[in-house]
C-alpha cells in the first residue's frame, strides 16, 4: 500500500478535479489521498482500465449531494428554524413596525389598497367568467344564429324562422332538444297588483334544458296552453305570501292564465336573469295572429331558438351541417342566410360578430380589467419592495451585530422574510375589509351583484397564496442583499450602499409612474370620447319627450280622442304615435328600390311608421321639402327620408321622386336631418318614415316646457288611466334612454378612472415614503449645506430634482404606449375623437405637479431643519 503508483498511469484528471470542487470539504483531504492509494491498489489487482473506472465511479459517489455530510464539531450547531428564534423574528418585526409607524402605515396601507383592488377585479372577473354556469347543461346548450348578407358585409341575427326548429328536430340527430322562444314584455295582473314585467314564451323542453329549478309545481307546468310559471320574486310581488299555485293571472288585460309553477329566480349572471315569468309557446301561437301567420314561413325571422346538443356532438361540426339549410331549398331569399350555433359558454363573453366572424366581446373587458388589476397590484408590490429595501439599509448595523454574535446567513434571511410576511399578512387582512367596504360602490359602478366569497376555500387559498408570494418577492431583496453584508465593514460605520444601489429602486419608480400615467391618459381619452359622442347632434329634441309603450289593446283605437285629451291638459304640447321608440331602430327592409338603384346591391333601409304629428312631436329638422300634413290626402303614400337614405339613393332631385318599398309606391316629400336612434358611436343607418296608423306601438308625447315634468306627468297619467285603466302607466324619458346608450363606455370610464386614481395614489404613497427616506438619509448633508449658506429653495430643488427626473422619464415612456393602445381602442368607433397633444401635456404636468407636492412636503421639512440639531451628534 505504500508503493508509489507506477508513473505511466494516473487517475483521470477530470474526476480528481470534480472531487476537489464538489467533495465535502470536511473530508476532502483524506478522501483524495485515500482514493489515490486505492487507485494504485486497483491498478495492481484489476489493471489500469478497471482502476480508472472504479476511481471515477467512487468520485461520483462521493460528490456532495450523494455523499453524507461529515458534521463538523468545531462549532456548536445552530438550527435554522428553531422555535425560539422564529418567535424572536416576529417580535423584532412587530417592534420595527411599531417604531416606524409612518412607514408601516404607508407600507401596509398601500399594499392593502392594491390587494383590495385586485380582489375586487378578481371577483368581477370571476363573475364574468362564471356567467351562465348556473345552467347545468351549459356545455351542451347552443343558440341558433344566422349570418345574413344584405350588401357586402354579413350581419348577424339571433332571430330565426319558426319552421327551422322542426327541421332541426326531425332531420338532425345531433340535437337532443330544440325549443322556440320569444322574449316578452307584458303587463301581468293578479287582483289589484299590476306589473309590467319581462319574461319568455318557450316550448316546454326549455325547462329541462335550462335546468329551471322548480320550487312549486313541476316542469310539466307548460303542457297546458293557458299556464304560466312565475319566478319566486314575481310570485311574491303578485300574490304576497299566499300560495300562487292555481291562481289566475291576466296578461296584458287580454288572456287569463293559471299559475302552474314557481321557479327559483335565474341568478344575476345568467342570460335569462330578466326572464321573470315563462309562458307556453302555444299561448303565443293562440293569441298572436302574427306568430300564427308565420308559423310555416321560412323567411320571417322573429324568434329565438335554443337547442341542446347530444353528448359528443361538436357545435362547430353541427354548424357546418346546418349552415345551408335555407340556401339549399328552392327559392332561397336574396339575403343568403347561413345558420350556425353559438354555444352557451360563449354567449356572454364572446357575443360580438363582425362580417361573419366572432370578434370577442366582453372578454376584452375581462382582459382589460384583469391587466389593470395586475398592474395596480404590481404598483403596490413595488412600493412595498422599495420601502422595505430603503428602510433595510438603515438596518445594516443590526445585521452586522447579529452576524458578529453568531447569526448565520440563513437565519438573517428567515428573519427578513418573516418580517415581510407579517406585514403582508396585516395588509391582506386589511384588504379583505377594504374590499368588503368598497364592494357596494363597485357593484353600483359595474352593475353587478357580487359579494365576497367568504365561504369559498379557493378565495382564501388564492388570497393567502398571493400574500405569501408577495411577501417572499418583496422580502427577497432585503433578505438576500442585507444578509450578505460583511459585519466588519458594516460595523466600522463606513457602510454605504454604493452608487448603484438605488438604481433598481429608481427603475421601479419609473415603472410605477409609467403605469399610472398611462392609466390616466387612457381615462382622459375615454371620457373625451364619451363627451365627443354626447356632443353629436341627435337630430331631434330629447328634452321633455316621453314615450309610452302601448302594450294593451285599449290604447290602440282612440288616437284622436287621446290626443285631444292630452293636449287639453295643458301639460302636453304635441302627441304622436310611432312604430318604435325614438332611441331604438326596430326593423328595416331590403325590399326597396328607387330610380337608378343598381340591381346588384340590397341595402337594408330602416322602416319607421309614424302618425302625422310625429315630426312636430319629436322636433326633427327638415332639410328639404315638407313634413307630413293632413291637408294633403296623398300623404298616406308619402315618404320622408333621412339624410343618409338620401345619400344612399343618390337621387338628383330627391323631392317628388318615387320609391318602391315592400310592394308599395311612395313619393318622397321631404328629407330630414339624421337622427341618432341607434349607437351614437356609429353612423346613422339610412331610414325612411311613412304614415301608418296601424303599425304603431309607442305613444310619443312632447311636454310643455312651462310646467315642471313631475306635474305634467301627473296630468298625463290621469288621461292614461281613463283610457287604459287595466295597466300601470309606464313611461320613459327620451333623454334618459338616450344617455343609457353610453352605459358601457361610461362604466368603463368610471372604473378606469377609479383605478387610475388608485394607481396614482399608491405610486405617490411610495414616493412619499421614499422621499422621506432620502431626506432622512441626507440630514447631515443638508445641515452642512445650510451652514455653508444654501437657501431653503436650493435644498428643496436638490431633493426634488431626482424624483422629478424619474417622473419625466416615465411620462416619456408612457406617452407612446398610451397613444398606441388608445388609438387602437378609438378605431373601434366610427365616430371618434382625436388624441390631441394637450392630453399628454396635461397629464404629464399633472403627474409632475402631484410628484412635486408629494416630494416637497418632505423636502421642505428636511430643508427647514435646524442645522445645529442635525449636526450635533457626531
Amino acid at each position: 500500500m505504500s508503493q508509489n503508483p507506477p508513473k505511466f498511469a494516473k487517475p483521470p484528471r477530470w474526476a480528481s478535479t470534480l472531487l476537489r470542487w464538489w467533495a465535502d470539504p470536511n473530508t476532502a483531504e483524506e478522501v483524495e489521498g485515500d482514493l489515490l492509494e486505492m487507485f494504485a491498489y486497483w491498478q495492481q489487482t484489476a489493471g489500469s482500465k478497471r482502476a480508472k473506472w472504479r476511481y471515477a465511479l467512487s468520485v461520483l459517489k462521493l460528490l456532495r449531494p450523494f455523499t453524507r455530510k461529515k458534521k463538523s464539531y468545531d462549532y456548536p450547531k445552530t438550527y435554522l428554524f428553531s422555535h425560539i428564534m422564529i418567535q424572536n423574528y416576529f417580535k423584532i418585526a412587530l417592534r420595527n413596525i411599531l417604531k416606524h409607524k409612518g412607514y408601516a402605515a404607508i407600507n401596509i396601507g398601500g399594499l392593502s389598497v392594491g390587494m383590495a383592488v385586485a380582489m375586487l377585479i378578481g371577483l368581477w372577473v370571476y363573475d364574468e367568467v362564471s356567467f351562465d354556469k348556473y345552467h347545468k347543461n351549459h356545455d351542451r346548450i347552443v343558440q341558433l344564429f344566422q349570418f345574413v348578407t344584405f350588401e357586402v358585409e354579413k350581419s348577424t341575427y339571433d332571430v330565426m324562422p319558426i319552421p327551422l326548429a322542426g327541421e332541426l328536430r326531425t332531420k338532425y340527430p345531433d340535437f337532443k332538444s330544440v325549443v322556440m322562444s320569444k322574449r316578452l314584455s307584458q303587463v301581468l295582473a293578479a287582483g289589484d297588483n299590476k306589473f309590467a314585467k319581462t319574461g319568455s314564451s318557450v316550448e316546454p323542453d326549455f325547462l329541462e334544458m335550462m335546468s329551471v329549478n322548480m320550487l312549486a309545481g313541476t316542469r310539466n307546468g307548460l303542457d297546458d296552453a293557458n299556464a304560466i310559471l312565475l319566478s319566486e320574486s314575481l310570485a311574491k310581488a303578485l300574490f304576497g305570501d299566499a300560495d300562487p299555485l292555481n291562481q289566475l293571472v291576466k296578461i296584458d288585460n287580454k288572456v287569463n292564465v293559471k299559475v302552474t309553477g314557481v321557479y327559483e329566480d335565474f341568478p344575476n349572471n345568467s342570460t335569462f336573469k330578466e326572464t321573470l315569468y315563462i309562458t307556453p309557446w302555444e299561448l303565443l301561437l293562440n293569441n298572436d295572429p302574427y306568430a300564427k301567420s308565420i308559423e310555416n314561413d321560412w323567411d320571417s325571422n322573429s324568434y329565438q331558438i335554443y337547442a341542446q346538443l347530444k353528448d359528443g356532438a361538436d357545435p362547430e361540426q353541427v354548424s357546418a351541417k346546418i349552415r345551408e339549410i335555407r340556401t339549399k331549398m328552392d327559392d332561397p331569399p336574396r339575403y343568403k342566410p347561413e345558420f350556425f350555433l353559438h354555444p352557451m359558454n360563449k354567449w356572454h363573453l364572446y357575443g360580438d360578430f363582425k362580417n361573419g366572424v366572432n370578434t370577442g366581446g366582453l372578454i376584452q373587458f375581462v382582459w382589460l380589467f384583469g391587466i389593470i388589476g395586475v398592474f395596480v397590484l404590481l404598483l403596490a408590490c413595488i412600493n412595498f419592495m422599495n420601502l422595505s429595501t430603503a428602510r433595510s439599509e438603515k438596518r445594516a448595523k443590526e445585521v452586522g451585530i447579529r452576524k458578529a454574535i453568531g447569526s448565520l446567513r440563513g437565519q438573517l434571511i428567515s428573519q427578513f422574510f418573516s418580517e415581510s410576511l407579517l406585514v403582508v399578512l396585516f395588509a391582506f387582512v386589511l384588504s379583505v375589509f377594504l374590499a368588503a367596504a368598497a364592494l357596494p360602490f363597485f357593484n353600483e359602478v359595474a352593475q353587478k351583484q357580487m359579494s365576497i366569497l367568504w365561504l369559498n376555500p379557493y378565495f382564501w387559498l388564492l388570497g393567502l397564496g398571493f400574500s405569501l408570494v408577495t411577501g417572499i418577492i418583496a422580502g427577497s431583496y432585503p433578505a438576500i442583499y442585507l444578509s450578505s453584508f460583511q459585519p466588519l465593514k458594516v460595523l466600522k460605520g463606513r457602510f454605504s450602499a454604493g452608487r448603484f444601489a438605488a438604481i433598481p429602486r429608481k427603475v421601479l419608480v419609473v415603472m410605477q409612474f409609467t403605469v399610472s400615467v398611462t392609466l390616466i391618459i387612457g381615462t382622459i381619452i375615454i371620457f373625451r370620447q364619451i363627451q365627443f359622442a354626447k356632443n353629436r347632434p341627435v337630430g331631434y329634441s330629447k328634452n321633455g319627450l316621453i314615450e309610452v309603450k302601448m302594450n294593451t289593446p285599449e290604447l290602440l283605437q282612440h288616437y284622436e280622442a287621446l290626443r285631444l285629451d292630452l293636449l287639453n291638459t295643458g301639460a302636453v304640447k304635441e302627441m304622436a304615435q310611432s312604430s318604435g321608440v325614438i332611441t331604438t331602430q326596430d326593423g328595416g327592409t331590403t325590399d326597396i328600390s328607387w330610380e337608378g338603384k343598381s340591381p346588384d346591391t340590397q341595402p337594408l333601409v330602416m322602416h319607421n311608421s309614424v302618425t302625422h304629428d310625429y315630426g312636430k312631436t319629436i322636433g326633427w329638422q327638415i332639410l328639404q321639402g315638407r313634413d307630413f300634413s293632413r291637408t294633403f290626402s296623398t300623404d298616406s303614400s308619402a315618404m320622408i327620408l333621412n339624410e343618409s337614405a338620401a345619400k344612399l339613393m343618390n337621387l338628383k332631385k330627391p323631392l317628388d321622386s318615387f320609391v318602391r318599398a315592400s310592394g308599395r309606391q311612395y313619393k318622397i316629400i321631404g328629407v330630414v336631418k339624421d337622427m341618432i336612434k341607434e349607437n351614437p358611436f356609429s353612423p346613422v343607418s339610412p331610414s325612411f318614415f311613412v304614415v301608418n296608423y296601424r303599425n304603431i306601438s309607442v305613444i310619443n308625447i312632447r311636454l310643455t316646457p312651462d310646467i315642471s315634468a313631475s306635474e305634467a306627468i301627473g296630468k298625463v297619467e290621469s288621461v292614461f288611466k281613463k283610457y287604459n285603466p287595466g295597466s300601470p302607466f309606464t313611461y320613459s324619458f327620451a333623454d334618459e334612454e338616450y344617455s343609457k346608450k353610453f352605459g358601457t363606455e361610461e362604466r368603463i370610464g368610471k372604473l378606469a378612472s377609479f383605478f387610475a386614481i388608485l394607481a396614482i395614489f399608491i405610486s405617490c404613497l411610495g414616493l412619499f415614503g421614499l422621499a422621506s427616506f432620502v431626506a432622512e438619509q441626507r440630514t447631515k448633508e443638508i445641515g452642512i449645506r445650510k451652514v455653508l449658506g444654501a437657501s431653503v429653495a436650493n435644498l428643496w430643488g436638490m431633493l426634488s430634482k431626482d424624483f422629478v427626473l424619474l417622473v419625466i422619464i416615465s411620462c416619456l415612456v408612457s406617452i407612446p404606449i398610451s397613444w398606441y393602445v388608445m388609438s387602437d381602442w378609438l378605431k373601434n368607433y366610427k365616430y371618434h375623437t382625436e388624441i390631441s397633444w394637450w392630453i399628454f401635456a396635461l397629464t404629464g404636468l399633472g403627474a409632475l405637479g402631484i410628484t412635486l407636492l408629494t416630494v416637497s412636503y418632505q423636502a421642505i421639512k428636511a430643508a427647514l431643519l435646524d442645522p445645529v440639531k442635525s449636526l450635533r451628534s457626531e
Binding site: E30, D34, L57
Partner: protein, 112 residues
C-alpha cells in the same frame, strides 16, 4: 442507551477496524475487507459507512501525520470507541443466544 442497532455491513466494518487496530483508515479497511471476505467492496461505501459509524459514536477518528506517498495528504485513522466495543459485544451475544436457542435436530440437519 437503547439497544444497539448495527447493519451487517456496519458490523463487518467495525470488526475490521478493530482487527486493524492502529492502522485502520479507509484504504486499509477496504483492502482488508476484500481479502478477508473475497467480495469486491466499493470504496465510497466504506467511506460513508465509516463516517456513519463515527456519527453514531462507535468510532472515533484522528488525522495522522503528513505522508509522502499521497501528495502529502494526511490519513484519517479510526479507532473503535468503548461504545463501539460494547455494540460489537452485544451483537455477538445476540448471535450466540440465537445459536444456542437452535433446537438440536435443526443443528443436525444443518450438518453441524
Amino acid at each position: 442507551m437503547k439497544r444497539t442497532f448495527l447493519g451487517e455491513f456496519e458490523e463487518v466494518i467495525l470488526l475490521t477496524v478493530a482487527i486493524l487496530g492502529e492502522e485502520a483508515y479507509a484504504v486499509t479497511v477496504t483492502q482488508e475487507l476484500e481479502q478477508k471476505t473475497g467480495r469486491v467492496v466499493g470504496f465510497s461505501s466504506v467511506h460513508t459507512t465509516l463516517q456513519r459509524l463515527e456519527e453514531k459514536h462507535y468510532l472515533s477518528s484522528s488525522m495522522g501525520g503528513a505522508t509522502a506517498e499521497r501528495g502529502g495528504r494526511r490519513k484519517r485513522f479510526f479507532t473503535v470507541t468503548a461504545l463501539g466495543r460494547k455494540a460489537l459485544m452485544e451483537v455477538k451475544q445476540v448471535r450466540e443466544e440465537l445459536w444456542n436457542a437452535l433446537p438440536p435436530q435443526t443443528l443436525q440437519l444443518m450438518g453441524i
